[in-house]
Amino acid sequence: MIEVRGLTKLYGSLVAVEDLSFSVAPGEVLGLVGPNGAGKTTTLRSLVGIVRPTRGTISIGAKRQLAFMPDEPRLFEYLTVEEHLRFTGRLYGVRDSDGRIPALLRELELAEKAGALPDELSRGMKQKLAIACGLLHEPKALLFDEPLTGLDPAGMRRMKQTIVERARQGAAVILSSHLLHLVEEVCTRVLVIHRGRLVAIGTIAEIVGSRPDLQGRSLEEVFLALTGT
């Protein structure tokens, strides 16, 4: 369960996130959408503890139960694919990583690249590796920031299945993306954020239902109307 109350993050006089409150239950996938600079990444980074919130409370459980998959894969230059997973497993205390690693490599179609260094991988493969590292310890809370970036159509399909599968297994998932069709397809609820403030939250039907002027419009038009962009 992820619970956020009154989250505020200031950078000097710049308000990145202001008084944001929401919760994500186990098995739920919350889509975090908003225009560029709305505060989505800052929200995710606050949740995972990378940045310290200026105000507010975050209840997300132990860090070992959490996984953050950033939009830009962060990898170590001189560790191979398999060594990245082994290293991550050690940091998260995964005792049976020897058994989990081959299965995860197969699931994310990285088995043939197990001995490759990051500079031998394509952008999509790097993204898959970063996600594999995040999934290795079977986290209870998953935070994805633009998870489909750089993936080919087959990889996108596989990634969507992976996200949904983890939610089905009981993980609370937050997915930040500009890809509205992805949000519509995968997420059970949507949180629209604009200039750091919550604009709308709920299922797409609930959001549209609360605004009669948005009835019958496409998701893209709803998004543009909500964020005034």
């Binding site: 990378i50 950033p70 230059e77 560790l79 050690r90 260094l117």
Partner: protein
């Protein structure tokens, strides 16, 4: 094309300057800038006695200096070309309707401004505060030398890269260049060997006479022909007046022009090799698909050197971080440099033993090994940077790990310390082993053993402290320390580096002072307890190591808290 290159250089310089000026609003950059300006003032404008800075002030053996630089580059240089394209250049230039040669010309043109500024600064520094209009001759002369050197380095890098990436294909394609270079090297070695007695005799009369004799040999016969391009290149720089400079220019231009042709041809040849290699790879893949070869994925990855030990699934996270950093040192370092150093040490020892008393060679060898051990301890932490200085580029990833800050810092520091301790211990042990073969009056074997133990005990503690200070600087002042392999530029960065250096020295002094006191007390107690001579150094080293270790633990705990409280976005932006 020229106008595009000039526009890019002009706008980049203007925007970089504006950004640096804007950054001066932050006190730390302003202080750094002020110190940087003072430093350059001290370098350039300080009054110096006898600073005529004329032609006589310049080294006359310019050609020889160039020869040494080129030789060093061919032996030690990397395969990274000085003309490597940035991602932005690759994106914009290679997709533009330009020929490969035009793209190279563009890069060459862009590199001229930094070379000119370097020439200007060098002449300003060496002019002793007396920069006269005639010094422009020096600036232009040095610019020519720098340009030719850069092109030469570019060719050398291409040859190396080609050989590394395309092996046999490249050897076949570059056979002409390799044959000529090998021929020149062999000819120089044979001629020098023949002239060795003459040079030795001259050196026996004094170093100046020796250097004169060496210079004379280098400028006559076949060697004179080989060295001529280098002499021609530096002669304008050494010209006493404008008229002589102008007269010497055509020959220098010829050398620069030949380098340009060589670079262009090498660059195009490199691409041909790459294409040929790609075709060969395509044939291999076809063979694999038809079942005649194992798939590429089943063979060991070309880029990944074998792992140094397997990481156990459970255990201390600090050890896991240290393991990662040791892998990075192992895979990131080449084998060429250590091999060259070992061969060089052996060669120096052998040369020293020629005609000298028995054991001199071994004595020189042992001394060199001790020097290397000392250098590993003192300078190693500045060279091996696979710790927080590299990993803070992944600051947010590190912060997302379920680790105590202290565990992370300890692991980061232990990686390079482990590698450098191995190097230092290896050198110390080899020096000790070598010393067993010789008789050293007044320094018996048992005393040498005591010295070995004391230095081996103290070396890791020194390394921990120096490495910790470097990591502390990166963590506490990330904007002042270069993270990753690059190097930040600018006057304020010079000042900041000076501040960091002064701060590091002060911290080292603070750390070593109590340790030295404890060590001195331990030595005194050992003396009172009847421990003999050099053996007193062993308890002294233990006292020093324990004190430094304790200080190191306190520093790791503090830095861990700093890391936990840090905000990557505020420190690095983004």
């Amino acid at each position: 094309m020229i106008s595009a290159a000039l526009y890019l250089s002009r706008r980049s310089l203007a925007n970089a300057t504006r950004r640096r000026l804007a950054r001066l609003r932050q006190p730390k950059y302003l202080i750094g800038f002020a110190l940087g300006v003072l430093y350059y003032y001290w370098l350039i404008a300080r009054p110096r006695s006898g600073a005529a800075g004329g032609a006589a002030g310049l080294p006359g053996a310019g050609g020889e200096v160039l020869a040494i630089l080129l030789l060093m580059n061919w032996v030690f240089g990397s395969s990274r070309s000085p003309f490597a394209f940035t991602p932005a250049e690759t994106h914009y230039l290679f997709t533009a309707p330009l020929t490969r040669r035009q793209v190279l010309d563009f890069k060459l043109l862009r590199s001229q401004l930094p070379l000119f500024l370097s020439s200007l600064l060098s002449v300003l520094i060496f002019s002793g505060g007396h920069f006269t209009p005639s010094r422009i001759v020096r600036v232009l002369g040095l610019w020519l030398v720098f340009s030719a050197l850069q092109m030469h380095y570019g060719v050398a890098a291409l040859v190396r890269q080609s050989l590394e990436e395309h092996g046999v294909t490249a050897v076949r394609r570059r056979l002409g260049v390799i044959t000529v270079l090998t021929g020149v090297a062999v000819a120089v070695a044979l001629i020098l060997r023949r002239q060795l007695p003459e040079v030795q005799a001259a050196f026996a009369a004094g170093p100046a006479a020796g250097l004169d004799a060496l210079g004379a040999i280098l400028h006559r016969g076949v060697l004179g022909v080989i060295v001529w391009p280098l002499s021609a290149l530096v002669r304008p720089l050494l010209a006493p007046d404008l008229a002589t400079f102008a007269a010497r220019l055509p020959a220098a231009f010829l050398v620069v022009g030949l380098h340009y042709v060589w670079l262009v041809r090498s660059s195009l040849a490199f691409e041909e090799v790459a294409v040929e290699s790609a075709e060969r790879m395509a044939r291999r893949i076809a063979a694999w698909r038809s079942g005649r070869r194992p798939p590429p994925s089943e063979r060991r990855s070309k880029g990944a050197r074998r792992s140094l030990g397997r990481l156990a699934p459970v255990g201390s996270p600090a050890r896991a971080i240290a393991w990662k950093n040791v892998q990075a040192e192992w895979r990131g370092s080449g084998v060429r440099l250590p091999v060259i150093i070992v061969l060089g040490v052996a060669a120096v020892a052998w040369v020293a033993s020629l005609g000298a008393a028995a054991g001199t060679g071994i004595q020189v060898l042992a001394t060199l090994l001790l020097v290397f051990a000392g250098m590993a301890v003192v300078f190693g932490p500045y060279i091996l940077r696979n710790d927080l200085r590299a990993d803070l580029l992944l600051w947010d990833l590190l912060k997302s790990y379920p680790l105590r800050g202290a565990d992370l810092v300890a692991g980061e520091v232990l990686g390079p310390v482990a590698v450098l301790t191995g190097v230092a211990w290896g050198c110390l042990l080899a020096a000790f082993a070598a010393s067993l073969a010789i008789d050293l009056p007044g320094f018996p074997v048992l005393d040498r053993l005591a010295a070995l133990l004391a230095t081996a005990i103290a070396a890791p503690a020194f390394l921990v402290v120096i490495t910790l200070i470097q990591n502390a600087a990166a963590l506490v002042f990330p904007a002042w320390v270069t993270l990753g392999p690059g190097r930040a530029a600018g006057v304020e960065m010079i000042g900041q580096r000076m501040l960091t250096m002064i701060g590091s020295l002060l911290l080292m002094l603070l750390a070593f002072l109590p340790a030295a006191v404890v060590a001195a007390v331990a030595v005194a107690i050992a003396g009172v307890a009847g421990v003999d001579g050099v053996w007193r150094a062993v308890p002294g080293a233990i006292g020093l190591t324990v004190t430094l270790g304790f200080e190191g633990m306190l520093a790791v705990a503090w830095l861990g808290r700093v890391f936990e409280r840090s905000d990557p976005a505020a420190e690095l932006g983004g």
